[in-house]
Symmetry: C2
Protein backbone atom coordinates (compact mmCIF):
# COMPACT_ATOMS: atom_id res chain seq x y z
CA UNK A 1 0.00 0.00 0.00
CA UNK A 2 1.75 3.16 1.17
CA UNK A 3 5.39 3.95 1.58
CA UNK A 4 4.93 4.11 5.36
CA UNK A 5 3.38 0.63 5.37
CA UNK A 6 6.41 -0.74 3.57
CA UNK A 7 8.88 0.71 6.04
CA UNK A 8 6.71 -0.35 8.96
CA UNK A 9 6.63 -3.87 7.60
CA UNK A 10 10.41 -3.91 7.31
CA UNK A 11 10.86 -2.69 10.88
CA UNK A 12 10.15 -6.07 12.48
CA UNK A 13 12.94 -8.63 12.57
CA UNK A 14 10.69 -11.67 12.12
CA UNK A 15 9.28 -10.11 8.97
CA UNK A 16 12.74 -9.33 7.65
CA UNK A 17 13.72 -12.95 8.28
CA UNK A 18 10.66 -14.11 6.38
CA UNK A 19 11.71 -11.99 3.42
CA UNK A 20 15.19 -13.52 3.59
CA UNK A 21 13.67 -17.00 3.54
CA UNK A 22 11.63 -16.08 0.48
CA UNK A 23 14.77 -15.06 -1.41
CA UNK A 24 15.19 -18.77 -2.14
CA UNK A 25 11.74 -19.00 -3.67
CA UNK A 26 8.09 -19.61 -2.85
CA UNK A 27 7.25 -21.10 0.52
CA UNK A 28 4.01 -22.11 2.19
CA UNK A 29 2.80 -20.43 5.37
CA UNK A 30 3.47 -23.57 7.36
CA UNK A 31 6.95 -23.98 5.97
CA UNK A 32 7.73 -20.37 6.85
CA UNK A 33 6.32 -20.90 10.32
CA UNK A 34 8.55 -23.91 10.93
CA UNK A 35 11.55 -21.55 10.90
CA UNK A 36 10.22 -19.59 13.86
CA UNK A 37 9.31 -20.20 17.46
CA UNK A 38 5.87 -18.65 17.06
CA UNK A 39 2.36 -19.93 16.60
CA UNK A 40 0.84 -20.21 13.15
CA UNK A 41 -1.52 -17.41 14.08
CA UNK A 42 1.36 -15.05 14.72
CA UNK A 43 3.07 -16.03 11.48
CA UNK A 44 -0.19 -15.40 9.68
CA UNK A 45 -0.32 -11.94 11.26
CA UNK A 46 3.18 -11.11 10.01
CA UNK A 47 2.42 -12.47 6.55
CA UNK A 48 -0.64 -10.27 6.35
CA UNK A 49 1.44 -7.20 7.14
CA UNK A 50 4.00 -8.14 4.49
CA UNK A 51 1.19 -8.72 2.02
CA UNK A 52 -0.48 -5.38 2.81
CA UNK A 53 2.86 -3.72 2.25
CA UNK A 54 3.08 -5.46 -1.14
CA UNK A 55 6.35 -7.03 -0.11
CA UNK A 56 5.00 -10.52 -0.86
CA UNK A 57 2.49 -12.20 -3.17
CA UNK A 58 0.38 -15.13 -2.21
CA UNK A 59 -0.86 -18.00 -4.36
CA UNK A 60 -3.20 -20.72 -3.16
CA UNK A 61 -2.61 -24.31 -4.20
CA UNK A 62 -4.67 -27.07 -2.64
CA UNK A 63 -5.07 -26.13 1.00
CA UNK A 64 -1.68 -24.44 1.07
CA UNK A 65 -0.94 -20.77 0.73
CA UNK A 66 2.39 -20.00 -0.90
CA UNK A 67 4.20 -16.75 -0.35
CA UNK A 68 6.68 -15.19 -2.71
CA UNK A 69 8.89 -12.12 -2.53
CA UNK A 70 7.76 -9.07 -4.50
CA UNK A 71 10.92 -7.16 -5.29
CA UNK A 72 9.29 -4.21 -7.04
CA UNK A 73 8.39 -2.52 -3.78
CA UNK A 74 11.89 -3.13 -2.48
CA UNK A 75 13.12 -1.23 -5.53
CA UNK A 76 11.06 1.79 -4.52
CA UNK A 77 12.60 1.82 -1.07
CA UNK A 78 16.03 1.44 -2.59
CA UNK A 79 15.30 4.55 -4.62
CA UNK A 80 14.19 6.53 -1.57
CA UNK A 81 17.30 5.56 0.34
CA UNK A 82 19.55 6.25 -2.62
CA UNK A 83 18.10 9.73 -2.97
CA UNK A 84 18.73 10.28 0.73
CA UNK A 85 22.37 9.37 0.27
CA UNK A 86 23.16 11.30 -2.87
CA UNK A 87 22.25 14.81 -4.08
CA UNK A 88 23.70 16.79 -1.21
CA UNK A 89 23.28 20.54 -1.68
Amino acid sequence: MSFADTFKALSDSARREILQLLKDGKMSAGEIGSHFDMTGATISYHLKILKNADLVWETKVKNYVYYELNTSVVEEILLWLTELTGEKK
Copy 2:
Protein backbone atom coordinates in the same frame (compact mmCIF):
# COMPACT_ATOMS: atom_id res chain seq x y z
CA MET B 1 23.59 0.52 16.84
CA SER B 2 22.03 -2.65 15.46
CA PHE B 3 20.50 -3.34 12.13
CA ALA B 4 17.09 -3.68 13.74
CA ASP B 5 17.43 -0.26 15.37
CA THR B 6 18.11 1.28 12.00
CA PHE B 7 15.04 -0.22 10.40
CA LYS B 8 12.95 0.66 13.45
CA ALA B 9 14.16 4.24 13.23
CA LEU B 10 13.19 4.40 9.57
CA SER B 11 9.72 3.03 10.25
CA ASP B 12 8.33 6.31 11.57
CA SER B 13 7.23 8.95 9.07
CA ALA B 14 8.31 11.93 11.20
CA ARG B 15 11.78 10.46 11.44
CA ARG B 16 11.93 9.86 7.71
CA GLU B 17 10.91 13.48 7.15
CA ILE B 18 13.65 14.63 9.49
CA LEU B 19 16.18 12.69 7.43
CA GLN B 20 14.84 14.30 4.27
CA LEU B 21 15.26 17.74 5.85
CA LEU B 22 18.84 16.91 6.74
CA LYS B 23 19.63 16.08 3.10
CA ASP B 24 20.05 19.83 2.63
CA GLY B 25 22.63 20.01 5.41
CA LYS B 26 23.02 20.48 9.15
CA MET B 27 20.05 21.79 11.10
CA SER B 28 19.49 22.63 14.76
CA ALA B 29 16.95 20.73 16.85
CA GLY B 30 14.72 23.82 17.03
CA GLU B 31 14.89 24.39 13.30
CA ILE B 32 13.94 20.76 12.68
CA GLY B 33 11.10 21.07 15.15
CA SER B 34 9.68 24.13 13.39
CA HIS B 35 8.82 21.87 10.44
CA PHE B 36 6.53 19.73 12.56
CA ASP B 37 3.40 20.13 14.63
CA MET B 38 4.97 18.48 17.67
CA THR B 39 6.51 19.69 20.90
CA GLY B 40 10.25 20.10 21.22
CA ALA B 41 10.26 17.16 23.63
CA THR B 42 8.78 14.89 20.99
CA ILE B 43 11.26 16.08 18.37
CA SER B 44 14.04 15.44 20.85
CA TYR B 45 12.73 11.90 21.33
CA HIS B 46 12.77 11.25 17.58
CA LEU B 47 16.24 12.74 17.24
CA LYS B 48 17.50 10.46 19.97
CA ILE B 49 16.17 7.43 18.12
CA LEU B 50 17.81 8.55 14.88
CA LYS B 51 21.03 9.18 16.77
CA ASN B 52 20.96 5.75 18.45
CA ALA B 53 20.46 4.21 15.04
CA ASP B 54 23.52 6.12 13.82
CA LEU B 55 21.44 7.75 11.14
CA VAL B 56 22.47 11.22 12.33
CA TRP B 57 25.40 12.92 14.02
CA GLU B 58 25.08 15.76 16.46
CA THR B 59 27.42 18.68 17.06
CA LYS B 60 26.95 21.26 19.79
CA VAL B 61 27.61 24.92 19.05
CA LYS B 62 26.69 27.54 21.63
CA ASN B 63 23.43 26.43 23.13
CA TYR B 64 22.31 24.84 19.88
CA VAL B 65 22.54 21.20 18.91
CA TYR B 66 23.01 20.62 15.20
CA TYR B 67 22.04 17.39 13.52
CA GLU B 68 23.51 16.01 10.36
CA LEU B 69 22.73 13.02 8.18
CA ASN B 70 25.04 10.03 8.47
CA THR B 71 24.80 8.25 5.17
CA SER B 72 27.10 5.34 6.00
CA VAL B 73 24.36 3.45 7.83
CA VAL B 74 21.97 4.10 4.97
CA GLU B 75 24.51 2.38 2.74
CA GLU B 76 24.32 -0.75 4.88
CA ILE B 77 20.56 -0.88 4.53
CA LEU B 78 20.89 -0.32 0.82
CA LEU B 79 23.13 -3.36 0.73
CA TRP B 80 20.67 -5.50 2.68
CA LEU B 81 17.83 -4.52 0.38
CA THR B 82 19.91 -5.01 -2.73
CA GLU B 83 20.82 -8.51 -1.63
CA LEU B 84 17.15 -9.19 -1.04
CA THR B 85 16.37 -8.17 -4.59
CA GLY B 86 19.15 -9.93 -6.43
CA GLU B 87 20.66 -13.39 -6.12
CA LYS B 88 17.51 -15.42 -6.64
CA LYS B 89 18.16 -19.17 -6.58
